[in-house]
């Protein structure tokens, strides 16, 4: 369930590369965007923004989110977020874990619960928490 990659099921929703949606998208299932979406997205499933796709919204809510295309707006993920190489993201980002791969561009605030390693200020605490940072 915590897998970053979206499972391909028969009921998967897909906004194809030639498609544009202007409005609000919400629901239970997973969604793959290959085209353009302008408007808010609220999913209980996983969201994939494929390479070449663009999403522009005030708020995007989903479980696990994988981005290889472009996203403009606030992202609020209950699961892990992965910005793949080639991703362009502008906006504040929140997830249970966030991975930014080499070649991804991100402008915004990152809100993710993990402990800094000691050399990055974690030593300033009285005692660093023993729990390792969530994912690297």
């Amino acid at each position: 369930m915590a897998a970053v990659r979206t499972t391909t099921r028969n009921e998967e929703a897909r906004i194809g590369s030639g498609a544009r949606v202007h409005g609000r998208i919400h629901g239970d299932g997973d969604l793959v965007v290959e085209g353009q979406v302008e408007g808010d997205v609220a999913l209980r499933g996983n969201l994939t923004i494929a390479a070449g796709a663009s999403v522009s919204s005030e708020v995007v809510e989903a479980h696990a989110v994988t981005i290889a295309g472009s996203l403009e707006g606030e992202l609020n993920a209950s699961g892990p977020v992965r910005l793949a190489a080639g991703a362009r993201v502008r906006g504040n980002l929140r997830g249970s874990a966030v991975a930014i791969e080499d070649g991804a561009r991100f402008t915004g605030r990152l809100d993710c619960e993990f402990d800094l390693p000691p050399e990055l200020g974690g030593a300033a605490r009285a005692e660093p928490r023993p729990r390792a940072s969530s994912r690297r």
Binding site: R14, G16, V21, R24, I25, L31
Partner: protein, 104 residues
């Protein structure tokens, strides 16, 4: 394979425009415009004006339809709205309320 699929759990409130075809299994309120075929599957609910080259309905549709080629209302479909297409079929078991204009 359709390039755009609105899955069963998904609701779109707004406009969808595509150069390809589109399959709706979920809910759409707004407007649907496709250069190619539009399919509204059984269990889907569409409250929208629909434009496409062809339209196949097995679910529920409320709205006006404008198809360049043909419209097929399959058994079990419920359609309220005006249909404008050169070729229209309404299967036994389909519910339809509206005007048909085949003089395109």
């Amino acid at each position: 394979m359709a390039s755009t699929v609105i899955g069963a759990g998904i609701t779109i409130e707004g406009d969808i425009t595509t150069d390809d075809d589109i399959v709706v299994q979920g809910t759409v309120r707004g407007k649907v415009t496709a250069k190619e075929g539009v399919t509204i599957e059984h269990g889907a609910s569409v409250e929208a004006d629909v434009t496409g080259s062809s339209l196949t309905v097995a679910g529920a549709l409320t709205g006006n339809v404008n198809a360049n080629d043909r419209v097929d209302l399959q058994s079990g479909s419920r359609v309220i709205g005006n249909v404008k297409a050169a070729r229209v079929t309404i299967a036994d078991g389909a519910q339809f309320k509206g005007n048909v204009d085949m003089d395109v």
